[in-house]
Structure formats: structure tokens, C-alpha cells
């Protein structure tokens, strides 16, 4: 299950090198996968081959065990959610009509569509009574993209394709949309393929990242592995290997703490927990002028110690 790419090639007639060069990947059901790379690396092409907006030159793609070429194109697309950068909403339709597009194509009864529309708008935190009858241009960019996500999920597809959905949105709104999407993904367990050229976005959202360069996959790994163990210089540069601060964001207290209780460490009242990341711990060390903190469990009982020395040792590895 999930999505399987087997020796997928895309050759455009007007370029010498293939846009996608013999890619094989296995993506598990319910995974959040980010395609990351500079423009022209083939990430969007690879994404759009999944719903056959582009056809493969050779190789096969299977979605939930079914070869996508064995299904009628429209049928396939109605079963896959699709979100693109802003302007993807139909400007002449109200929000409710936009959301109802795929359910109507699938000929759902109107009451079911009506109920589903309310449910989806609530899911993306837009009040149905306020927004159902509005048109896209009466909404902010962030709200439009919330509707875009709701629309893609309307017929409850297992797979969602997202092509730089937050690319044209200001940084603050983008970050709240990312949180929102992350929450929905955890809740609904969709398989999401998400294209971006924004490293921070990729590191923040992905279960696993596919880093692409010139039509090839150069690394397919978790954000943690990408940051701590980049496959080549290109990725090292991309994620900024020397950016220790970013690296600390992927390391947790449980990776480095010691089980001793050092007496000189401050009271356990403001201790850190095992799942806190080192960025947070380091920030507190600087702000509160401590070189060590107690590590506490969920009952606020002391179980160990984390020190500045241990953080520095880990980062030097």
C-alpha cells in the first residue's frame, strides 16, 4: 500500500536530460513526504505524474496497489486530493461550491455534500455560516488556502498531492497553516506528497524528505537524518550543516541526558522533559544563566540531568 514509484522516467521532447531520471521509491500509507529541491530539479514533475497531469515516459507508479495507468484518468484524479499554490480556487464559485466540486463529480446526494461542507470548514477552522456563501476574493490568502485544503479533502481521499501550497503566503500565516496541516495529517492519517523548495518547511512537516537534484533522488530520509547526516555536499549546503541551531531543533533531551542527579543543578521545579528539543533547552540555558537542568518525567519527578557540556559534545559529533 501507499505509493510506489518503479523506474520512473520523464523525458520532455525539448530538453536533452530527462526531467525525472529513473526514480524508484516506496512511500508508506499515512506518511507525510516532502519533495525538496531547487527549481527545475524535477520535484513538481514527479508529483504531477501521480495524478497523471503528466504521463510517465517509462516506469510505473502504483497508488494503493493499483497501477495508475490501469484506471480511467478522471476516476484516478477524483480519488486523489490536489492542492496547488494560490489561485487554485475557482473564482466564480462560492466557497461551498468550490468544496463541493469533487463530491458533485462523484454524484453525491446534496444533503451529504451539505453536511460534509460544514464538517470540512470546521475542520480548517472557518465558520461555515460566515464563509459558505463567500467568494474566494473575499478571503485572505491564508483563508483561501484553508479552503483549498478542505476542498482537496472533500471526498475523503487517501492520498493528497500538494504543489507548493504555501509558497505565496506571508511567513506568519504560512507557519500557522503548516501547524494546521501537520495537525490534520496526524488526525486523518492521509498519505501526503508535498512539494516545496523551502528547507524549513520541509524539515518542519515531513516524516521523510525526498531531496532531489537534476531529476534524481539524492537522499530519502527523515529530517533528522538529513540534517545530521547529509548524503552529499549539495544537501549539506541546502540544510546548512554548520547551522547548529537548526541541528539542535532535531535533537531531543532523551538523546543526550545522563541519568545521574548532579547536586549542583537547580531545583526540579523548572526541569526539562525527555521530548524537549535541544534548541529550547539551550535557549533556557542562555536566558536563565544555568549550565545544567534537571530532567523530569511527566509526574515532575527527577530522572536525570542535561548539561551544556553534553550538548556541545553531541553537536561536535
Amino acid at each position: 500500500m501507499g505509493i510506489v514509484f518503479k523506474n520512473v522516467v520523464k523525458q520532455y521532447s525539448n530538453t536533452a536530460a530527462p526531467a525525472v531520471d529513473n526514480i524508484s521509491l516506496e512511500i508508506n500509507s499515512g506518511e507525510f513526504i516532502v519533495f525538496l529541491g531547487p527549481s527545475g530539479c524535477g520535484k513538481t514533475t514527479l508529483l504531477k505524474m501521480v495524478n497523471r497531469l503528466y504521463d510517465t515516459t517509462s516506469g510505473t507508479i502504483e497508488v494503493d496497489g493499483v497501477d495508475i495507468r490501469k484506471v480511467q484518468t478522471e476516476q484516478l484524479r477524483r480519488g486523489i486530493g490536489y492542492v496547488i499554490q494560490q489561485n487554485g480556487l475557482f473564482p466564480h464559485m462560492t466557497i461551498e461550491s468550490n468544496i463541493a466540486v469533487v463530491p458533485r463529480l462523484l454524484k453525491w446526494p446534496e444533503e451529504k455534500i451539505d453536511k460534509r461542507t460544514d464538517e470540512l470548514l470546521e475542520m480548517v477552522h472557518l465558520d461555515p455560516r460566515t464563509y459558505r456563501k463567500r467568494r474566494p476574493n473575499q478571503l485572505s490568502g491564508g483563508q483561501q488556502q484553508r479552503v483549498g485544503i478542505a476542498r482537496a479533502m472533500a471526498a475523503d481521499p487517501n492520498v493528497l498531492l500538494m504543489d507548493e501550497p504555501f509558497g505565496a503566503i506571508d511567513a506568519i500565516t504560512r507557519s500557522s497553516l503548516q501547524d494546521e496541516l501537520h495537525r490534520l495529517q496526524r488526525l486523518l492519517k492521509k498519505t501526503i506528497l508535498f512539494v516545496t523548495h523551502d528547507v524549513d518547511e520541509a524539515l518542519r512537516l515531513a516524516d521523510r524528505i525526498i531531496v532531489m537534484q537534476a531529476g534524481k533522488v539524492v537522499q530519502f530520509a527523515t529530517p533528522y537524518d538529513i540534517v545530521t547526516n547529509p548524503a552529499n555536499d549539495f544537501i549539506r549546503k541546502l540544510v546548512g550543516e554548520r547551522d547548529v541551531y537548526r541541528k539542535m531543533g532535531f535533537l531531543k533531551v532523551e538523546d543526550i541526558y545522563s541519568a545521574d542527579s548532579l547536586d549542583e543543578v537547580a531545583a526540579t521545579a523548572d526541569g526539562v522533559t525527555l521530548t524537549d528539543d535541544l534548541k529550547l533547552v539551550f535557549n533556557r540555558m542562555v536566558e536563565e544563566q544555568h549550565k545544567a537542568f534537571a530532567v523530569v518525567d511527566s509526574n515532575n519527578k527527577r530522572i536525570g540531568t542535561v548539561t551544556m557540556d553534553r550538548i556541545l559534545t553531541k553537536l561536535a559529533q
Partner: protein
């Protein structure tokens, strides 16, 4: 006798004739409009997807538009004889270019992202045209239809020269008889028809414009 009295006198005895002429004029204009729309809207959509062919067609049309309406009407006569048919054919030819060009531009300028979203969600090409492209293209298309309708209502006055009848007969008679009253009986209703259709299509255009 004053012009206004002459007009009143004409209507006292001949109002059925006037209304017959008015009817012919409206029928000739609307028939040509509908025919032009039936041909040029699908053609416009078709060439909006084939930009190379579109260039040839648009250039050819622009050359054709240099020919004055009167000449088009005159040219229709040797081919189709006299009466309703050549007049309708000539008027259809005159109405075609603005409808065709505006349809072509309206469809060509639809945001490709919107079309891609439609396809990506599983609409067929026909569903994409009907549910997404046509509603978005309508305001610009209606602007072309509006121009064409005014042009047709005005040019239909010339149809009388090739036996097409209509309100033009009063104007031709008025000119040859040097009669102000005849001129007005023809010209005023034609002007009113043109203004009415202008207003009607403007309202429709505003109504279909989603951004208002």
C-alpha cells in the same frame, strides 16, 4: 406641416406597416446574432487552444474587417440573390469578428492554474469548459457580443438595399424623398434598439462578473 404632425399622420394610417418593418429588423438582427454566436463561440474556444492557427485566423479576420458593411452586403447579393438570406448572411459575417476575437481572448486569458486545478480534481475537458472556463470567460465574451449586436442593429438598416427589408426602408425613402419625417421614423427606432441592446448586454456583463 410640421415634422411631428407628419409622423403622427403616418402612424395613424400605417402603423401595421411600421410594426412589420420593426419586426423584420429585429428578426433579421437576432437571427444573424444567434447564427454568428453559434459559429464563432465554438470556433473561438477551439482556436484559443491552438495559438498558431489562431494567429492566422485573427489576422485574416482583421483584414476582412477593413471591408465596409455596405460592401459586404453588396457582395452577398451576387452569391445569394436578394431578400432575407443574403442580408442575414452578410450581417452574420459582420457580427462574427468581435464575437470570435473576444471569445478567443477570454479563453486564452484564463489563469492556467485554475484550469490545472479543474483537471487535477478530475473534471473532463468538457466539464472544465462548461463549469470553469465558460463562466470565467463570459464577461469578456459578452463585451464582444454587445459590440456585435450594436453593429448588427445599425448595419441591418442597409439590408433594405438587397431586399432584406426592415427599418432601413424608411431611411432610404427619407433620403431619396428628402423627407425628415421618414428619416426619423426609421432612425429613431434603430437608435433606440441599439441603445436597448447595449444596456441589456451591459447589465448581463456586470451580472456575470464574479469580481463585483
Amino acid at each position: 406641416m410640421k415634422v411631428i404632425d407628419q409622423i403622427r399622420e403616418y402612424f395613424e394610417g400605417n402603423s401595421p406597416v411600421f410594426f412589420a418593418n420593426l419586426k423584420t429588423h429585429v428578426w433579421l438582427s437576432s437571427f444573424s446574432m444567434i447564427l454568428a454566436m453559434l459559429v464563432c463561440i465554438p470556433l473561438g474556444i477551439w482556436i484559443s487552444r491552438r495559438l498558431k492557427i489562431a494567429n492566422y485566423i485573427i489576422n485574416a479576420i482583421n483584414i476582412f474587417r477593413v471591408i465596409p458593411s455596405l460592401a459586404v452586403l453588396a457582395l452577398a447579393m451576387p452569391l445569394l440573390g436578394v431578400g432575407f438570406a443574403p442580408a442575414a448572411a452578410a450581417l452574420t459575417l459582420l457580427a462574427g469578428p468581435p464575437i470570435l476575437i473576444n471569445t478567443y481572448i477570454a479563453f486564452r486569458e484564463i489563469n492556467p492554474a485554475v484550469k490545472e486545478a479543474a483537471y487535477g480534481m478530475g473534471m473532463t475537458p468538457m466539464q472544465t469548459i462548461w463549469k470553469v472556463e465558460l463562466p470565467l470567460a463570459l464577461p469578456v465574451m459578452l463585451a464582444g457580443i454587445r459590440t456585435a449586436s450594436v453593429e448588427i442593429i445599425a448595419s441591418a438598416t442597409l439590408a433594405v438595399l438587397i431586399g432584406g427589408g426592415g427599418l432601413g426602408s424608411y431611411i432610404i425613402n427619407g433620403v431619396s424623398m428628402m423627407s425628415k419625417s421618414y428619416l426619423l421614423i426609421g432612425a429613431v427606432p434603430v437608435a433606440m434598439l441599439a441603445i436597448l441592446s447595449e444596456i441589456a448586454f451591459s447589465l448581463l456583463q456586470r451580472k456575470t462578473n464574479y469580481s463585483h
